[in-house]
Symmetry: C2
Subunit: 334 residues, 2 copies
Amino acid sequence: MLAIQFFFVILISMSITFSDIEQARKRIAPVVYRTPVLQSINERDKGEATFFFKCENLQRSGAFKLRGAYNKIAALPEAVRQKGVVAFSSGNHARAVATAARLLGTHAKIVMPNDAPEVKLQATRAVGAEIVLYDRYRESREAIAQSICETERRTLVPPFDDPLIIAGQGTIGLELHEQMPEFDLLVAPIGGGGLISGVATALAELRPEVQIFGAEAEAANDTFLSLQKGERVQIPVPKTIADGMQVTSPGKLTFPIIQQRVKEIILVSEHEIVEGMRFVAEHIRQIIEPTPAVAVAAARKLATRFPGARIAVILSGGNVDMKRYRELLTGKGM
Amino acid sequence: MLAIQFFFVILISMSITFSDIEQARKRIAPVVYRTPVLQSINERDKGEATFFFKCENLQRSGAFKLRGAYNKIAALPEAVRQKGVVAFSSGNHARAVATAARLLGTHAKIVMPNDAPEVKLQATRAVGAEIVLYDRYRESREAIAQSICETERRTLVPPFDDPLIIAGQGTIGLELHEQMPEFDLLVAPIGGGGLISGVATALAELRPEVQIFGAEAEAANDTFLSLQKGERVQIPVPKTIADGMQVTSPGKLTFPIIQQRVKEIILVSEHEIVEGMRFVAEHIRQIIEPTPAVAVAAARKLATRFPGARIAVILSGGNVDMKRYRELLTGKGM
């Protein structure tokens, strides 16, 4: 009997439903921005694909990550929340957890790699979080975070592999449905897969006709390889300018959703990532970080495969410092 | 009798009413973007001013100018419109007139200074306009444009001093009213004054409590000096990085509106303009050209004078090429 109960608990915690995303939206609505969808300022030639950019680089905290983090922390019972939270992250999730913790009146400790961009470290400290640095190539951030949780009875806020995190990111799908006329394709960058699995779940309900594409840097092709093999593959920590993709494997929860709902993964080169950042500057005057530029580069490839298509692209974040941004665009930072 | 009739025609053509702006909106609605109002992605300290940025850098053609240009050309009788239009402009108005002409199925000739940013020349040609270059420091663009109009029976689309142009720009005021919660101050950059006089006319009707501030570069202080003296003052062609402010005098129509509705002109240095561009990159991830950064710099000064104020800032355009943008932010382009 206990075994059956346990089995059901597992089942429930594994599946993300449309209703989870609707609940997430109610939870996050008071603080999270409804980011705009932008179209090019330039005139389009006949027959060219049309791009629609969902600008999560304009999200509070500078990335979509606030949606999931706030949803997770807001859902904790008050007494649990008051003991504080812990997160490990390459940057945007860290800042999001720190921001959500502050907005919800609690405290965050963040385990961050010692080579994270300075702008992300600063921004995380600026919202009152405490940072614990570690060596990305030698230490396990999961182990460090776990130990802090046990010692201080804090709650871990995982970067992607959690139903409440995925549901939070999925709220982007609800907004897209309201903001967009008909569209044919959606492209999202894949780190751990929280963003794309949440959005795909929302769109499966609201826009089942839309084909979902994932985008990965060639060096960070863990999800691409996993789909090929039909099971989660582990790769070494990828070296790519897309620092949000320094994930070695898709998540336990996100991978089956990706298997079910994502049509194909498009791989792009480091050079194409930089070209994607430049394209966004020229067409919609946005500053984005390298990770969403992976999706932009993928969308441009899809535009040649599907002439005239209406393509929604999720610009996941904009947290790049201006010095680094300038270097990347001049080709010095690669 | 004829004299009286003439007097009335002058009176009517001089005054811009709220209803002109409402009509403009109907005319431009099918093509002009409703640009978003953005707030900072960063958390704000208690008591700090809040900025709201109206992002006309995301307007079709890259600047607010499309509103006025399209309104003017769309209002022409079909037979007149078909003969084509002419404009003289330092850049954004040129591109706007070219774009509006194309969208309305007619043809534009643009008289542009030979030192206009390359990105603006290219962008104007790309939408099918013919460019006539002139020397900004020695020739009269008005005379050149006038001569083309007479020879080819084309219609002149003035950059600011025209009721239909002012009414078009004023549509930003209608959108601000719909998009904004209560706000206290509005800051707009002043070139010839078309933008601020249109928006001030709209807000006088919809939000009479809002105080309107103009922003000029120290070197381009023609409106500041004119207000001091109580009449339109002519200055030499100003040398400033804010190329949209290379105007030597406020307009005949715009100046009385500015006298009546603008509380004060804030002057800012070239260095503060660059700091304004950087501020916008850090807080709302937008790429803007130098001219709107004059308004950003002015708004930051107002923020210290009015702690806790809610300040709307019009980001008038984003047409700066990326090489120039990088140079400006590294201090090389000043």
